[in-house]
Symmetry: C2
């Protein structure tokens, strides 16, 4: 633990908290300081199960973490319904906020969180891990290359996993009082984020939800999709589902090239991520049916898992605020907010019988 | 040339006719008997350029082929606007009809063609080649496998190529009087067909065109897309464009597996086609970020190009009618008609400001 390491408290002991406590341990810039659950027993079990050092403080209520002066920042993997309350409370106690996605139930909720973070000078970032993988930056370079990719025309993103009967009955992500956005919030978030990422966060003009979304008996979304369009003719489609085989696809078409990745949010292997690109391919002369050139695989190594890179990145911003008195980096808040805006539009379109929803910033 | 070979006449000397004349030469069940163009010079040049045997008759008008008693069947690669006239004329002269896609400008036109084929006892097939590649049947087997693929949930199909300035100015496929459907007819046909193929030709209930299609100055479609949905919750999206890099993607998601192919209509290599499947994959226990199992590549060899297999298949049906007095196989007509119905619905949705169009058979 470096002298300047950011000391984390974790609010809640969800499965994802396990992955993040490991990431905090692996980050040179972060240290786990405290964990809290609604019951001290659950928190103790979490600490024991994950081999947390004895120095990590164990709390039986979330508020205690916020009152702990040793805690610099909180990671909040609580159900979405609780984000507003606890992210606001954390920011008011000057704790920097790393908030699981979906950031909020709607943009009004997120705006409140962001205002409080802003007025208290604390860093905000949502828990979208894949944007921190070095592959993501390499893919962005490929998309930016006018010569080989050209002008972006179309994006398609699919995020799905077959959640299975136990999840569909019991998981917080299918409970209207906990994660009312269901699959749209849990993985549609990634679809929307990946589309916005591809277009440098230019908001679409129009969002139209696809017919035939699937809801559970409580009205929580189990699968849905939408098409997005921009004024200049760019279009995108996405599909997210708890009912289909695990799929993390992103396809981006340009005038001169195409880029594909099939494991966007969690690479097939932890040590590297790959993607495929093709550029200015055509049928080889006199050889119908032969493409030249063929698609090319790119492999981008990652010395540490992407969640560690996320923690590093967050800790770096917090370090600048703590050490150098800089203001929070608003980049992450802006990305979260645009994702949430599009998500709201998808939901609005679903509620309006799949009518087009015009987006205004 | 076998004793029973089907003797083909070709109406028109489009680029695609070159590929088909080669396919007819390579098919053991077919022989090229005649070619026609609007001018005898163009037909002669075509024959010379493609090294056609001197026995092949050269005509300076299409009708002459239909009047030639040596001709059993015609391949019609004419602009779509001319399909109705010439396919009907051919069938009325008892010539079997292999018709380039899109089969017609609308389902009313196609219905007229199919009626005349039916009443004259001639075989009809459209020129969709990829359905005849052995890979297609192997992919179908993969989709049918309840154990490894489960229930089909989502399909996404992209067909695109960057046609370039000369094509966009001069090609028949961007002329309203010749191929008024533009990219929707030329390659959207494949998107729709691939989606219908995946669902065993069950028509969707609802078709919604995507916002922001691109038209040229004459109102011909240069890029468009749509989402389709079925009563049981299956959904599909497609995108077709003359303005993006060459892309022939089909992705099919099931509850237990997924299937992907990136060169659907024309395999990367002529000697084989490959596709990728994944089934019941999940994150490996205790190793976050590692998928197990990984996607699997399948390679399906093809001794002859897919267009030869199409000619074989067509000739086989014609042979049964000629030799055994059987009735035409209506399977191909049904597939074409459903493709055309969906295409009409996409067009109708575009014309209605992207409203949903309900499909009835």
């Amino acid at each position: 633990m470096a002298q300047t390491a950011v000391r984390f408290g974790i609010l809640g002991c969800a499965n994802i908290a396990r992955q993040l406590s490991r990431a905090i341990a692996l980050s040179p810039d972060a240290a786990l300081c405290a964990v809290a659950s609604r019951s001290i027993e659950k928190a103790r079990t979490f600490a024991a199960d994950n081999g947390l050092p004895s120095a990590v403080k164990i709390y039986g209520e979330y508020g205690a973490v916020l009152d702990d002066p040793d805690v610099d920042a909180v990671y909040i993997p609580l159900p979405t319904t609780l984000h507003l309350k606890w992210a606001v409370a954390a920011a008011e106690k000057k704790k920097h906020v790393l908030l699981e996605k979906p950031a909020a139930l709607d943009v009004a909720g997120l705006d409140r969180i962001l205002e409080v973070c802003e007025s208290n000078g604390v860093q905000f970032m949502d828990g979208t891990m894949w944007v921190h993988h070095p592959r993501t930056e390499r893919m962005k370079e490929a998309l930016r290359d006018e010569m080989s990719f050209g002008q972006l025309k179309m994006i398609h993103s699919v995020l799905a996993y077959n959640a299975g009967p136990d999840f569909l009955k019991n998981d917080i992500r299918v409970k209207p009082d906990l994660d009312a956005l269901g699959a749209l919030g849990d993985i549609g978030w990634y679809c929307i984020r990946s589309i916005l990422w591809a277009v440098d966060y230019e908001l679409p003009k129009t969002v139209v939800a696809m017919h035939k979304p699937v809801y559970n008996d409580s009205g929580v979304i189990l699968s849905t999709g939408a098409s997005l369009s921009w004024e200049d003719g760019k279009v995108a489609t996405f599909y997210c589902s708890f009912l289909s085989h695990m799929t993390f696809d992103l396809t981006v078409l340009g005038t001169k090239g195409a880029l594909r990745v099939n494991d966007l949010v969690s690479p097939f292997q932890e040590s590297y991520g790959s993607f495929s690109s093709i550029s200015e391919s055509d049928f080889a002369q006199l050889e119908p049916g032969r493409w030249a050139p063929m698609p090319r695989e790119h492999r981008v190594g990652s010395e540490v898992p992407q969640e560690v890179l996320m923690v590093n990145e967050f800790a770096k911003s917090v370090g600048k605020i703590k050490g150098e008195g800089l203001k929070p980096d608003r980049k992450w808040a802006n990305m979260s907010r645009k994702t949430q805006l599009v998500m709201d539009a998808v939901k609005a379109s679903m509620e309006k019988g799949f009518q087009a929803v015009e987006l205004v910033e």
